[in-house]
């Protein structure tokens, strides 16, 4: 009888659940994070214990037998908060296991198309935010970027910023999820939006000292638009208004 799998919500946890479900060779009813778990009347729930080593081995097998593009799609689909993403990933992996690594090119197949679509959304948002993340200078030479992305893109974009700003101390916060990453000029650390970060957030960017560069950027942003070509529709298409809250020039 088909079962639902419950994992701890972490990425290694999901890998362990996928591994178990794929080994069982029966499509699970669902794979859900513990926090979303609702007991089902007629189906057993199989609790999954997260085992980092096992997860690593499973990921390695995916790389070897299915290809790195499959890993990429898997990771990105996981980072989206799309409901039911675990089962999408299960169907995708089980299809590729059956048909071989090239089956990823079966773009219109119901096991492939949804994963590609979700992964693409995550990729698009991550790329957007490499451009639209805005750092604000706070006390102690620290740069803070606050955002509220739809998907969990911080782990995807942080490496870009470690390459770009290696000799600055900065922190990026996903305030919607209360998570963050802090760069101490050597490595990235996970942080939570605790009291310390809240205090940082509440430091108004235009505090007593004021940041003259923020002021100049806002003015510059106004000045470079050609009034005869005003086109708010186009502007919003590329820069949706949900991001404006944290854009220095639009705040």
């Amino acid at each position: 009888m088909s079962a639902q799998y419950a994992y701890d919500g972490s990425f290694p946890g999901l890998l362990c659940a996928l591994c178990a479900a794929l080994t069982a060779r029966e499509r699970p009813l669902d794979i859900v994070a513990d926090r979303e778990l609702q007991p089902m009347l007629l189906a057993p729930t199989i609790p999954i214990t997260t085992d980092e080593e096992k997860a690593d081995r499973f990921m390695g097998r995916i790389d070897d037998t299915m290809g790195r593009h499959v890993r990429r799609n898997l990771v990105r689909t996981f980072l989206s908060d799309t409901p039911g993403r675990e089962l999408l990933i299960y169907d995708y992996l089980s299809f590729i296991r059956e048909k071989g690594p090239n089956a990823d090119g079966h773009l219109t197949h119901p096991a492939v198309a949804p994963v590609h679509a979700v992964a693409r959304k995550v990729t698009v948002e991550a790329h957007r935010l490499t451009g639209m993340a805005r750092f604000t200078r706070v006390a102690g030479e620290l740069l803070v970027a606050v955002m509220e992305p739809r998907h969990r893109v911080l782990p995807l974009i942080a490496p870009h910023f470690t390459r770009r700003f290696p000799v600055d101390r900065w922190v990026m916060l996903d305030v919607g999820r209360g998570t963050g990453l802090y760069w101490d000029m050597k490595e990235l650390h996970e942080v939570e939006s605790g009291p310390e970060t809240t205090r940082l957030l509440n430091t108004p960017p235009d505090s007593a000292t004021g940041d003259i560069y923020e002021k100049m950027w806002r003015q510059y942003f106004k000045d470079i638009a050609i009034p005869e070509r005003k086109n708010p529709r186009c502007q919003k298409r590329f820069m949706p208004t949900r991001y404006w809250k944290y854009l220095t020039e639009k705040r």
């Binding site: 079966h106 773009l107 219109t108 490499t130 639209m132 805005r134 186009c234």
Partner: protein, 413 residues
């Protein structure tokens, strides 16, 4: 004058230069420094006119010895004049960059004293950013018309891109509206293009040879200030791509900035024409079209009602329909409604399955247009065959759909 005021004047004065790309350079972050180049380019914001903002685009100075009729900085225009210092530009670039407002600097300038004096200042900004500020972000410098070869060569060693604006498509227009000569523009452009070619060659033999403008060169043409037709413009662009190896030609709808009687009186900038030219330019760069296929002497202007690929397909309806399952990639690209991405996806997906109408929709093909030009497994997608051109034409018209505020963002990356 303080730096805030200067940026207000010199930033605004640079806005008519439409180039914004930050792509094509994969520069690593310097040791102990800040910034790198990402080859795909990154847009950081979109201005109120819908154009992407990728670089801090500014003039070094708006002082100018020239008096070009179309230019807001012309000598005879009564506006406040100022100039940055080299350090001011460097500081601004670094501080904007660290807040992630920009990918780097786009520095252009009016001509102060003479071409070489100005070019030297621009080259110095780039050199200082690289060597003192250890900046690895994107730098695009304008070559000043008439500047010497040596200075242009120096500038290109620190810049990712170096470019000269042609602005006016023919020498006749140039002589009418400016005090510049064709050679003032074409010689630097030739110099840049041969330096890029030589450098590529040199680096094949010696990996450690310094790079010269790794992101290549570009130029800009003003559209609608002078009487040239689209055919002349498209042919010029094709020549620039082929002979000078330019990465981009930008088109800038003329915005009247003076009431000079040598210029046309336009109520609004010709944005639709500019948009069609960008589409034609895309056809040449990504779709394998030649200028001669897009326009000829009998059709000197692009159709305003439909995109240039649709117009071409209508004129060449005898080449269609093609079969979605077997047509080569190059042929798929020529179908209205199929873009580069959907053509690539069709080629991948059809190895696995026989594509039908719904599959094509899923892939992202605009079926309203494409259906007239395709067969699936030898069968047409339309009930009845041999539809009159009139009906096909109706489905290809995009103007009404897009409305007056039409301006797709073709500047991106």
């Amino acid at each position: 004058m303080d730096i805030e005021k200067k940026l207000q004047i010199l930033g605004a004065a640079a806005k008519y230069d439409v180039s914004c790309s930050s792509s094509g350079s994969r520069r690593p972050t310097p040791k102990g420094g800040t910034g790198n180049g990402v080859s795909a380019g990154i847009c950081h914001s979109w201005a109120d006119d819908g154009r992407c903002v990728s670089l801090l685009k500014t003039l070094f100075t708006n002082v100018c010895i020239h008096d070009c009729a179309y230019c807001v900085n012309r000598r005879s225009n009564d506006i406040p004049r100022t100039a940055f210092t080299v350090d001011e530009i460097c500081e601004l670039t670094m501080e904007f960059y660290r807040r992630n407002y920009i990918e780097g600097l786009f520095l252009s300038s009016g001509v102060m004293r003479n071409a070489d004096y100005t070019m030297e200042r621009l080259a110095l900004v780039a050199k200082k950013l690289r060597e003192e500020y250890r900046f690895g972000g994107y730098i695009h410098l304008k070559a000043i018309p008439g500047a010497s070869r040596e200075l242009i060569r120096q500038a290109g060693l620190h810049a990712d891109r170096i470019s000269v604006n042609i602005e006016l498509p023919t020498e006749k227009s140039l002589l009418l509206l400016t005090d510049k000569k064709k050679d003032d523009i074409m010689l630097p452009m030739g110099e840049i293009s041969s330096a890029i070619v030589e450098n590529r060659d040199e680096r094949k033999h010696l990996r450690s040879a310094p790079r010269f403008a790794p992101a290549g060169s570009s130029t800009q043409l003003i559209v609608g200030a002078t009487p040239e037709n689209d055919h002349q413009i498209v042919r010029l662009s094709e020549g620039l791509y082929n002979r000078f190896g330019l990465k981009r030609v930008y088109y800038s709808a003329f915005v009247p900035v003076s009431s000079d009687n040598r210029l046309p009186a336009l109520a609004t900038p010709p944005l639709l024409r500019e948009h069609r030219l960008y589409q034609a330019d895309w056809l040449m760069r990504y779709y394998g079209f030649t200028a001669g296929e897009i326009l000829d002497d009998r059709t000197p202007f692009l159709d305003e009602e439909m995109d240039p690929k649709s117009a071409w397909a209508l004129r060449n309806i005898h080449l269609f329909p093609i079969d979605i399952q077997t047509a080569p990639y190059e042929t798929l690209l020529r179908v209205p409604g199929i873009g580069v991405r959907s053509a690539q996806r069709i080629v991948i997906a059809r190895r696995h399955t026989r594509l039908g109408y719904d599959d094509l929709k899923k892939i992202g093909v605009v079926m309203k247009r494409a259906k007239h030009f395709l067969t699936v497994g030898g069968r047409t997608l339309l009930p009845g065959s041999g539809r009159p051109l009139r009906l096909i034409r109706r489905d290809l018209i995009t103007r009404a759909m897009l409305g007056p505020s039409l301006q797709l963002n073709l500047f991106a990356a």
